[in-house]
Amino acid sequence: MSSFALELLDATHDRKGFHSGLDAIDLYLKETARGHTDKGVSLTWVLVNPDAAPPKPILGYFSLTPCMVEAAGWPHVPKGLPRNPVGAVLLGRMGVAKSIQGVGLGTRLLALARRISSDSLAGTGRIGMVVDAATVELIGFYEKFGFRRITPDSRRLFLPTRSLVQPPGD
């Protein structure tokens, strides 16, 4: 018996009952996530209890969006990235219900996002995972797991595909 289940957001989940303490995170789940998931714009995965009955309370969620990374066309930029945009995956939003924060659900969610992304990232030649930390305070959370800030004044972090994939035997 597992402790949690991760499911794609659908009508059986109680979106309105989710409160993370951050309005932007709650609002996205309430108003945008379903449409995006149905249309395939981005996928929202929700963490629930495996035996919860609909409407299933949402313990936490994250959304994954394919995104394009476009290198600067500066003449003196070292070679390495092609001129054309290259693919990556964006961990756009992540949130944990306020009532159960502090017990490691965020850690689990991030690990799950990596697990889900790593296969497709490695298999389709995407360069890595981009994360937008919801607040400045959360930057440290992602850095703890290896994500690197790209510029000091931005909340955007990055982790290359090769760092996402667990080397065998580890």
Partner: protein, 194 residues
């Protein structure tokens, strides 16, 4: 071909609209009409109304109401629509011996958001400067904002420093650290159902 002013009230029958963002067609009592919106044309809103199935086009000024939004050409700098008017008649739809109930038409919907007076005045001034109706101005601005949001979400344009930083990371990917391995172990028993 004689041109006649035409008040088009946009009888849109249910189920015939194709709401592809900037191009759609609908059935009116003039027949099937396809409409495409262009922005960024001399700073104004240009409306092309072309009747399908007819090759010849003429330009004229008209009042058009589509989806409850009234496009008043007087106020719009360059409304220009092409339509074969000779075939269009202002008569109401005929039900040629059709039995049963007459086809129901969907009433246009009007939404009227409330703005603070100062904002409304600003909107009016700005739209006048652009030669647009307030509605046209709001639609334009809202669409531009929406497109920007979508682009921001799915496209990351790196500047020079960011490109260097990304390249450095790609050349030297950090190994999963202890915290990442621990997190993976913690989440190992979570079932993924999809």
């Amino acid at each position: 071909m004689r041109l006649q002013p035409l008040i088009f009230q946009g009888f849109i029958s249910k189920g015939t609209t194709k709401s592809v963002e900037r191009h759609f067609s609908f059935r009116s009592h003039f027949g099937l009409i396809s409409v495409s919106f262009h922005d960024e044309f001399s700073g104004g809103l240009v409306l092309d109304l072309a009747k399908r199935s007819s090759g010849s086009c003429v330009s004229h000024r008209h009042v058009i109401r589509i989806f409850g939004v009234k496009f008043a050409p007087k106020k719009i700098a360059c409304v220009d629509f092409c339509a074969n008017l000779s075939r269009m008649k202002e008569s109401p739809p005929k039900h040629k011996g059709r039995r049963g109930r007459p086809r129901t038409v969907e009433e246009p919907v009007r939404i009227s958001p409330r703005f603070p007076a100062s904002t409304a005045a600003l909107l009016e001034k700005a739209s006048a400067l652009r030669g647009l109706t307030v509605t046209g101005f709001i639609l334009d601005a809202a669409r531009a904002a929406a497109e920007r949001v979508v682009a921001d979400e799915t496209r990351w344009q790196l500047d020079e420093d960011e490109t260097k930083a990304i390249l450095k990371l790609l050349a030297n990917p950090p190994k999963p650290n202890a915290a990442a391995r621990k997190a993976a172990a913690l989440a190992a028993d979570v079932v993924i159902r999809s």
